[in-house]
Symmetry: D2
Subunit: 380 residues, 4 copies
């Protein structure tokens, strides 16, 4: 029942399957007056697109968006904005193999259990294909953040298998550093530590050749977010961002700030201390360190938001795996198709989009309530 919407004041609703005509998103709550073009959407869609490098799936999808509504003469109108991305690479093939066999790690069995049957041509609604329209919606959200408070979101890969980058200061990582090497060539793995990135690429390629896959971790940083976003109790900013990230296929863990590392820390170690920096009119309150990852009491502090997500190794393997048929008979399965040997490189723009959407939603929610307060203005 009704699980295809996300957000309250800025809300996206999606539909579409991997082997249907296409995917569509309706974005409700977009402020009027923001310039949006197909070209804008393509920037991030191309970062998520299959076939962008040798270490991602070679499935062919143009992922070309059509804006169906909500934009007039290149500017958002304030009414609901719909974007359609048609599927192209729907090869005619024999689905017999996956029609009756439950692929390990996939949602084949759970969809059957839930709905009584399923679109057996692929992952259907559970396929990560649906994330393309999320990325498109994320571009709209990023525009709102940029307009409202010069907000920026930078995501990158920090770990692939045993290869783990040490990022001294997440706020110094630039989009350029993530997307390309210093010689301007594509950095297909999106790890800002370029030496490690080259090792990751080699490692992923090796895993791919073995017909296997490998997990990893991505970190996403949101910069310039003002103090005040997030709601008390259930809709804490950290809670909504966690939900946003866990809504992405293959995410098994989310943490922010000191994260799971806090388990071994004492309060005297983990607490950041408030300090005052000189401001134009009044001192600006901030903290000396950012172990709190930009959120206290579920509300943004003005420090960068720093979240990490653990992404499991792709479940589809060229290696033969044991499983059962729908009828419960033992069998084996090998995924012949093209798949990502490591999900992390393409995960980055999806995670960025979901965080951007969450922040746009909370920004509008904050404005609704606190801008309506007597004698109150924000200095954005």
């Amino acid at each position: 029942m009704v699980g295809n919407s996300f957000g309250q004041a800025f809300r996206i609703t999606t539909a579409g399957e991997s082997h249907g005509p296409g995917n569509v998103v309706i974005i409700d709550g977009v402020p009027p007056g923001i310039p949006i073009s197909v070209e804008d959407l393509l920037v991030d869609l191309n970062r998520r697109k299959p076939g962008q490098s040798k270490i991602v799936t070679q499935r062919k999808e143009a992922d070309h968006p059509e804006i169906l509504s909500g934009v007039f003469e290149g500017i958002t109108t304030g009414t609901s904005l719909a974007i359609l991305i048609r599927n192209e690479d729907q090869r005619s093939k024999d689905y017999g193999d996956i029609k009756d066999k439950y692929r390990p790690g996939h949602a084949d069995y759970t969809y059957d259990a839930k709905y009584g049957f399923r679109d057996y041509r692929g992952g259907g609604r559970s396929s990560a294909r649906e994330t393309n329209v999320r990325v498109a919606a994320g571009v709209v959200a990023k525009k709102i953040l940029a307009t409202a408070f010069s907000g920026r979101i930078v995501g990158y890969v920090t770990q692939v298998g045993h290869l783990k980058a040490e990022i001294a200061d997440p706020t110094l990582i630039t989009a350029d550093q993530v997307e390309q090497f210093s010689d301007g060539s594509l950095n297909p793995v999106r790890c800002p530590d370029h030496d490690l990135a080259r090792q990751m690429i080699e490692f992923i390629d090796q895993v791919r050749k073995e017909g296997d896959s490998i997990g990893g971790v991505a970190e996403i940083v949101a910069i310039n977010v003002p103090a005040g976003l997030g709601e008390p109790v259930f809709d804490k900013l950290k809670a909504d961002i966690a939900k946003a990230l866990f809504s992405i296929p293959a995410v098994l863990g989310v943490e922010y700030g000191s994260g799971f590392g806090c388990a071994t820390m004492r309060g005297s170690q983990n607490n950041d201390h408030f300090i005052a920096e000189a401001g134009e009119d009044a001192p600006i309150i901030t903290t000396d360190t950012n172990r709190h990852g930009g959120s206290l009491g579920g509300i943004s502090t003005g420090q960068p938001l720093v979240f990490r997500a653990a992404v499991k190794p792709t479940s589809s393997l060229l290696i033969e795996q044991p499983t059962v048929t729908k009828q419960g008979e033992p069998t084996t399965i090998r995924t012949k198709g093209r798949h990502d040997p490591c999900l992390l490189p393409r995960f980055v723009p999806i995670a960025e989009a979901m965080i951007a959407i969450t922040l746009a939603d909370h920004w509008l929610r904050w404005r609704a309530q606190c801008e309506a307060a007597p004698n109150r203005t924000h200095n954005d």
Copy 2:
């Protein structure tokens, strides 16, 4: 704006502050016909209550609930159920110290930034005091799960600082094992490894004496959850449970199944394999292992749901900490009051409650949609 509700088909809405008259929850969507009494509520409220052992805060709160509506002659009516828990321990004291100083790790600053001012007598709405009505609502949710599918939820502490329990099989942990030692005495730390539990207690007591605090990890397991709960895309079961857990104060990380450990795993290692077990009428599909933590494609598989949450060390310390005043002047602060040296023991019933509420919600959501399918019945 509107952050005080959780759930769609089973929805809780709360209000209340640490130093106000009390906390209240309205539960909407309760099925009619379920027996609920104040005594039922007290079972879990007493597990969350301050002062239950020497290793938790000594604040005195009776936490006695009053059922205001929705129950007639001991049975739920199906209309909205409200529970009120009055605050008692509102010591008259000089708040001068925390009125103007920002406590490190607390929401004092962010509430000021968001709302322009705050109830300076304590954490106000950001205080974990509000979780008492969540626990009360969790009891109602647990009743629904028990009635619907003999669902049970067992939470326990697995880590306090460097002391980390190895739980071979989470599904074997019993509530008794968590709550008491084999001699029947209270297990105040709620770690089912009793030898380790005794070390944890000693360690927490030592940390307390040092005026400091310590973090940890809790694991929560839901058993007998049928395959089929959870919605595609945004309202994946894992996403809603993650939000539920991150909505609890002090949670910095959440993972399920192989969690962050998946980053170093290959697909061939991480995938569980489907197997068939003999069933009464037809084979029952399940998996040989449970690295997927009971959820595939965001939908429950019938295997136990296994989630872990990292909880930071309490921010309030007897140790003096540097901070600034509201005006930005450097100062120091020492929390004189009573606080938990380790949040984990009292965290367990809160986390159980939030998972129970999420599952009750998804159970009702599933029934709404899939029970309405032609020619479809569930065998519960």
Copy 3:
């Protein structure tokens, strides 16, 4: 499932029954910084209260509200605001009569059909008793409207049975005119045409003596509402106000502007014409007439909002009425209790409250989206 909340950005959630401990409302989304006191709440609660005059029910209820949260030192904090009103007049009596008999016009049968059983001591959740907390929430909403744009809401009775007032200009009706006669004495029927009011009072009293009841119509006007409130398509302002009014017990019809009268009108008669009035900086666009009742395309035009609701005669009668028992056996019923011979006088403050709540919600929703537009400010 989950029918006890109203509103999106300003949301009220209620619980409580006629014969339970009391009613409670949680208001979510209240802007911070608004002064609210128990005395403020009492103004409208006293207008809704039983026993205020001889032509309303003589049930005794103090209807004294307790603010449980969300207000600190007399000012709203921005966090969820809860108000509790305890029931007092729960006479111990023999419910045998209504326990098994279905009262005509009441929800006894439908509650049994829906939930399988019901609180047989009275209307339970279907009793209009629950509207007391709506009125309390309405006071908070009215404060928001007054603060934001000097918004005012004036409701009054236009018809009781065959007695129908002709209101030449709804915007000229004052609250004083509604509440009292020119000599300062109470106008218990709340009709601003004082001659007709006196006839209505006499008529209602006569109907009461006959053991019967009488229907009527109320008109509610909202003044100073700026152009721009209301959302396209489903959440049109007219649609949300209509829902708000229809959510009140006994309402059988709602219309605005020319209402049902439009059926016999031509476009050339019904259309209002846009005109320009001199403004400070720029001309102010308005209309020459207000047959559109303040709403075009579902969005407020700046003209007064003018809505009317038809309220059925009270179903409880002293006259004996035929009915059946729960088991289907024919019987008769006479409501011995105290009831309103005409619902209209007490309906007025409830309808005002629901419209105020709807407008506060739409005001906040508008601010969320349109205040976030680049280069846009509102001049309030």
Copy 4:
């Protein structure tokens, strides 16, 4: 903010404008296993389509739907179902006239006031063009009602200007009687009183020739709806249906059962009496009359639901009307385009769709909660 969704358990979200690429609806919460085809959708789309007779607008639109997702091999999958209807008749023309002039009765001014600017090529999002996807969604909803409880919805026109039909028993009206005359020819005005229908047609044609338009009333009846649908307090069935109808452009009034007529009635006249009819296992409780229009306490009684809506005369006129420009300068306007001289004939399928959607939503909501009650089953 976020006004483009309707429903909770069965929810539709729409996007699209009159002069954009097309309209799209995402339907969330569709039960799996229901057969749906493009042909099914066309039945009602053709009843709403422009150009179907001489008394409706002659705009040319094929209104051909494409199902984008949620249907596999002709059967709903349970995942979100999207339908796209492209616009075709987007004549290239000079919009100069309406670009700067505010059309009386239209949303031109209010959209400008709300958003700061608008798509000036037509009504944009405020155009009734968006209702085509509502009608498509209504077909899906009708299928659910038919499957669940043989539910049927029949709408018809009861009044056009002064021509008013007296419908003795709304439950006897058949769809055939509405759609065609006894000779099988099209009944373009959809009034089941065929003599009056012919007068209406003539009258509308005359009004059209005069360049004017005329209002009217439609009645919509839902049959076989079981007792129990609707939620206490805010989401009363009557309230949600009223919102559904008021969300349709041009609706100025809604009533059900005795409606505004109740104002002159006494309780002893208006109350329906409960009676028992012989049932298979137990007596069936019903009422002797249906002045309550199928709803008591906001919950369906099992009697037919009978709602009426007043629809204003089309605002676009060939007659010249005074107005102002955006800048406030007096001018006149004549709508040269093709318009409906009377909205009622095409209103009927839209109103049916909105009531079907509301009922499907409440049906699923009821099942969620009450099916989950212990020891409870429904006999559908």
